[in-house]
């Protein structure tokens, strides 16, 4: 997406906006699916995210990075906002203290869709922290601020998410 196209999108050119939508829809739909177990919720987030992108695109600062990174941030925030409305309760999520060590070589047999499904099956809190830390690359302090939780809760949730994923992987390869 070049700057000229972005300018056209800001000006409200529907053709340019559709092009931007087409260019990023797959990646962003996958991103939304990582945050929501329900496909309808993911679809809603995709829609809301693009509306926000087109509404706020004039705020995008070229000097601060590529437009795709900015769009991704908007989508992550949209998903978190939607999740907040659903009131994620990080404290009440059942405890998975099961520690599993897994051989990494076997993981390469899984495709992206399988992995997304696995993430979707995680409880909301685990899933959210896992996505933010592992995929999006936020640190625990940033996650704590974003989700309104303590850093230690973020760490615990991540650890439990990973344990749960290991269990799921174990099931797949049984």
């Amino acid at each position: 997406m070049d700057n000229q196209k972005i300018k056209l999108c800001i000006e409200g050119n529907r053709v340019a906006q559709k092009e931007l939508y087409e260019a990023y829809k797959v990646n962003l739909y996958v991103l939304c699916q990582r945050y929501f177990s329900d496909l309808e919720d993911a679809k809603d987030a995709l829609q809301e995210g693009f509306v926000k992108v087109f509404r706020d695109l004039h705020q995008y600062d070229e000097a601060k990075g590529h437009v795709s990174s900015w769009i991704k941030k908007v989508f992550v925030n949209t998903c978190l906002e939607k999740l907040r409305k659903k009131k994620i309760d990080f404290q009440k999520i059942e405890d998975y203290d099961h520690e599993v060590v897994y051989e990494s070589g076997i993981l390469s047999d899984l495709n992206l869709k399988d992995l997304t499904k696995m993430i979707q099956k995680l409880p909301t809190g685990y899933r959210t922290v896992f996505n933010l830390y592992v995929i999006e690359g936020y640190n625990h302090l940033e996650i704590a601020e974003k989700l309104g939780i303590s850093e230690s809760t973020s760490k615990t949730q991540l650890m439990k998410a990973k344990n749960m994923l290991r269990l799921k992987l174990e099931d797949v390869f049984k």
């Binding site: 797959v26 309808e40 829609q47 693009f50 899984l110 495709n111 995929i135 290991r166």
Partner: protein, 480 residues
């Protein structure tokens, strides 16, 4: 353990940063894009409408400022004119010399005096400037002609001669004598003179005479406002009170929790016509938007018999007609549940349902104001009618929220016929206020008024909806 942790993290991170093949994902193509495009259109519309009040407020402020400056300049000019007229009411200029002398003398003596302040008598092709002192005796001003012919004071009388004073226009009486011709030659401020104390122009013995009777100490109030009209921007903050009467003729009877309308900011122009010292007729034009929220609490018996199997879940469709302040709306609600959820037939599902009715309207007030003292000063009472013309109406912000653990609100569509609303509404208004003249000819008024709705915004034989209003108004008007 640490390695295993890192492996897992790196694995997921790498996989999700790889190129994603579209064919693996069932992207809801046109459906999502259509919704996005529709939302963007709405946003654009909202943004455009959002700017309108700012433009109107800005215009009102600029108009007020312009009127203030204009009024200040005119007041200054009138005061100066008033002073000069007063000074010159005792002066007489008599013409009996040649043109050059006349020009020189008058320029020297009158100098910066305004043309309008001078009374001239041109007689026998000569001009002499004289003045009267306070006692009324003649005092010669002309350096050339010392004669003191003050027999015909305050009269211009020229014959085949051009007379040019500081700001006087050249007047050639060989030209046909026409009032329109004269008017164009008389400097701007001179135009005030014929309206003062019944001055008049007349033709006498083939010569032009302008009589300037003694100017009184104070200018008559006619100068300030002759036609009794005043005009200016107005702003009103309106609180609305919904009044719902009757019952709902549908299965959701009695479940309307609340119908409320958010306050509106109305902007527009006011036009007042003075009838007498106490009575003023008010009218004008105002624009505002009104947002009314209707909240419903819906209790639906969920039928598992009517469910449709859609993939991993069941769907159930419900259609209802709901009355709102803007007419009946038809809702198509889809509820869904997972196949494994333990929902029994006819189990109650509680839903919150809300929607917003949006209206844009123009209002034309027709009010009669009674001023306790006089127009432009002090308290007043007012009464009359407010006519509202709805120019646009639509349903916005439709939301549902299920309170059931296993049944969720999947989607809702609303069909709304915009023509069912009453596009013309009238309210009976009463109010009180206070008006103060802040600058000469410019008044500011603050008032509060209550409007009893006389017509329904929407009505069926069983259901009537009307809206009363309480307004806080500020007007800045200038006499025109």
């Amino acid at each position: 353990m640490e390695d295993s942790n890192n492996n897992l993290e790196n694995f997921f991170r790498d996989r999700f940063n790889q190129r994603i093949e579209p064919q693996d994902w069932n992207i809801p193509d046109n459906e999502v894009w259509d919704s996005i495009a529709s939302e963007i259109n709405k946003e654009d519309k909202r943004r455009r409408v959002g700017i309108l009040p700012i433009i109107l407020v800005g215009s009102s402020i600029l108009l007020s400022l312009f009127m203030g400056i204009d009024n200040y300049n005119k007041s200054k000019s009138i005061a100066s004119l008033q002073k000069e007229l007063q000074e010159c009411s005792n002066q007489t200029v008599i013409s009996n010399g040649d043109d050059n002398t006349v020009k020189k003398d008058v320029k020297n003596e009158v100098k910066s005096q305004d043309h309008a302040s001078v009374a001239v008598n041109a007689h026998n092709q000569s001009i002499q400037l004289t003045s009267l002192d306070n006692s009324g005796s003649d005092k010669k001003i002309s350096k050339k002609n010392k004669s003191s012919k003050a027999s015909a004071p305050n009269i211009i009388n020229t014959k085949n001669k051009e007379i040019e004073l500081n700001n006087f226009q050249v007047m050639d009486l060989n030209e046909p004598l026409e009032v329109s011709n004269l008017a164009s030659r008389i400097p701007a401020q001179m135009a005030y003179l014929p309206s003062l104390n019944n001055n008049f122009l007349f033709k006498q013995n083939s010569s032009l005479s302008l009589e300037l009777p003694v100017v009184q100490e104070n200018l008559p109030p006619k100068l300030k406002s002759n036609n009794g009209f005043s005009f200016g921007p107005s702003m009103q903050y309106i609180f609305w009170q919904d009044k719902v009467k009757g019952s709902f003729n549908n299965p959701l009877e009695g479940l309307l929790v609340k119908e409320e309308t958010l306050p509106s900011l109305a902007l527009g122009l006011a036009l007042n016509k003075k009838i007498n010292d106490h009575l003023v007729l008010n009218t004008g034009l105002m624009y505002y938007q009104r947002n009314q929220t209707s909240k419903y609490e819906i209790n639906l018996p969920y039928s598992t018999v009517d469910e449709i199997n859609v993939g991993s879940e069941f769907e159930n469709k419900f259609s209802h007609s709901l009355p709102t302040g803007l007419g009946d709306i038809n809702t198509n609600l889809v509820l869904s549940r997972s196949i494994n959820s333990p929902v029994t037939n006819n189990e109650n599902v509680y839903l919150d349902f809300s929607l917003q009715n949006h209206v844009s309207a123009l209002a034309v007030p027709l009010m009669l104001t009674y001023h306790m003292k006089e127009m432009g000063n002090g308290f007043f009472f007012q009464g009359g009618i407010m006519n509202e013309f709805i120019i646009h109406n639509e349903i916005r912000e439709v939301n549902t929220e299920s309170h059931h653990t296993f049944v969720k609100d999947k989607s809702i569509n609303v069909d709304y016929n915009t023509s069912q609303i009453n596009k013309f509404n009238t309210s009976a208004m009463i109010g009180i206020g206070y008006e103060k003249e802040i600058l000469k000819g410019i008044g500011i008024s603050l008032s509060t008024n209550y409007g009893f709705a006389l017509t329904n915004t929407f009505a069926t034989p069983n259901y009537q909806h009307k809206i009363d209003q309480l307004g806080l108004q500020m007007m800045v008007v200038k006499k025109i």
